[in-house]
Amino acid sequence: MFNRLKCVLFFYLITVQLIYAAEWSGQLGIESRIFTETAAFSGQKGNSSSVFFQPEFYYESETGKDSFTFVPFMRLDQTDNQRSHADIRELTWVKVQDDLEWRVGIRKVFWGVTEAQHLVDIINQTDTVENPDGEDKLGQPMVNLSYITDIGTFDAFILPYFRERTFVGKKGRLRSQPYVDTTTTFYESVDKEKHIDYALRWAHSIDEWDIGLSYFNGTSRTPRFIVGINSSGDTVFNPYYDLIEQIGLDVQATFNNWLWKLEAIHLDGIGGSGASNFTALTGGLEYTFYSVIGEATDIGLVIEYLYDDRGVTIASPFQNDVMFGMRFNLNDEQSSEALVGIIKDIELDSTLYFIEASRRLSENFKIVIEARQYISIPVNDILYAYLKDDYIQVELSYYF
């Protein structure tokens, strides 16, 4: 009896300690998209709203050497059932031992320096349904060991499970034509999504230079498409994931107000099924004028060139494009900022205008407004399917 009591007391204390040491935070948001033109394809709906929720649980041991993070994510979308989805963004245990750091579980990793696109960044799959900018990612299961030395940080990754890319469904806007049906997916590897991928990276900062070199071997995060017919008789795209190896380089040089940036990748198919070998790069610069308007507003100019040696293909819209952007940072109490820009295809004349602006409304609320406009996109550009999908998006979030 006494032992049982002791046991109960013990677990009670452990639990109380855990709850005391742990912290909850997160984000709850509503988002509305207003499309300014009628849909191009049958089945697509008009304006839509959605809600999303992303809580975060964090626990750190007394010594700070161990930590545990859990971040689930859920979105419910009014029109597109493919966009209504849930994911585990993070479920990680981190252990720090002198020069080594272990990270085990589901995580997100970012590599790279450029703004227009993120070529080098390959560990996580893109959660395309979230935003056409491709910056939202699905949680990737991994074992990651970092070794920190005076000549840089060396990272090794074992990625035991592949995450399929998400695609907007038949009813959704900002999708390809035909739409992508993920109920049938093809893999080059016989192990399919269970193929074990791995990656290596070295990153270092030397004075004004930040340099990264990376290598990836495994299932391509970007699929090819095979035309098929699905169970409801629609012509659809079915994703096909090749086995590839990719080497990547990212460099940033920071000289006073100038940031010089370069990302380059070379990709080779390794399974023999004819995945195209190619080289792509993004390079450019950013110059910031500090405190040019009023007391504090900074204006940054960003120019980047996007190149892909495959030329005009379905694989990427950015084969010979230029991005020009202006960044406004008001440096006010509300952290108001905006990025306006254009990506223009030099060969095809396709033009994409974009705006992203945000402002804190109070201690817990923040508003983000985004708009995109697609202009004069020819049929042979992959973005042609988006031509009627100009939109304005308003997102209001509550942070806790």
């Binding site: 320096v113 970092s146 920071t254 107000n257 440096n331 006010d332 201690e363 942070y399």
Partner: protein, 259 residues
């Protein structure tokens, strides 16, 4: 022979005292202040920043700072933001240097992205506050040229009044005037003069406490902007020294897992 040396020594010392210019005295005060504040190793503190606009409306932000003293160079600092909640987890890493540009990185937790940022933005506001980046950067002797102006009493304490002229590029100031406590060699007040040489801001340091029986730290700083009427107060809580921080706690990996 010995006696000659002593006489010679006395002569040199007295000559120095007589001939010490205002510039030399100013520099000597800065060197002494720096010497007295050397050897603390590392420190950590919680920081509450309260921003007040001219109508008296307040907003609050909280962060945690870790600083590593670096021999012969500027300090390394890591700042993690706890509030406002939308920037929770955002972290800022800075390697400061006396004259060559600081190295700065920011970690954006939503994208898990570490970005190297330009440190040219000396005069821009830090987090929308009345403190600029150069105000929060570590104060190294070599960053300024000094000139002793006069002695003055502030709140019953004797001070040296010393002018400091920034020698680094892109400063927003033509000069600073520091009131240095004669006993503790810590500032009690700083006036900042803008590029047109008119008084822009006044900073008051208060609630000094001594740590490790040696090092004085202000518990509170109040910055008043005379042009905009806005003010920012900083409260430093839970100062801890020599907590065993190493170089290792101030790199890009540490930035990513800073909480």
């Amino acid at each position: 022979m010995k006696i000659y040396l002593i006489i010679l020594g006395l002569f040199i010392v007295s000559f120095n005292v007589i001939a010490e210019t205002a510039e030399e005295k100013g520099l000597a005060i800065a060197v002494e202040a720096d010497k007295r504040d050397t050897g603390w190793g590392d420190q950590q503190a919680k920081l509450v920043m309260t921003l007040k606009n001219r109508f008296g409306q307040e907003s609050r932000r909280e962060n945690r700072n870790k600083t590593l003293e670096v021999d012969g160079d500027g300090d390394k600092t890591l700042i993690v933001f706890d509030s406002p909640k939308d920037i929770k987890g955002t972290a800022f890493l800075s390697f400061t240097h006396a004259l060559r540009p600081d190295e700065q990185w920011i970690y954006l937790p939503a994208l898990k992205r570490v970005k190297r940022i330009s440190s040219s933005n000396k005069s821009g506001p830090f987090l929308g506050s009345e403190f600029s980046y150069e105000d929060i950067s570590s104060q190294e002797v070599g960053k300024y040229k000094y000139k002793y102006l006069r002695d003055e009493k502030i709140n019953g304490r004797d001070t040296f009044v010393v002018e400091a002229i920034p020698q680094y590029n892109k400063s927003g100031y033509t000069r600073l005037i520091n009131w240095i406590d004669k006993e503790r060699y810590q500032p009690l007040k700083t006036e900042f003069y803008d590029r047109k040489n008119s008084l822009l801001k006044t900073l008051l340091y208060s609630q000094y406490n001594q740590y490790l029986n040696k090092y004085w730290r202000a518990g509170r700083m109040d910055m008043q902007n005379h042009i905009t009427g806005k003010s920012t107060s900083l409260e430093f809580l839970e100062y801890k020294f020599r907590t065993g921080l190493k170089d290792r706690d101030f790199n890009r990996n540490a930035l990513k897992r800073a909480r």
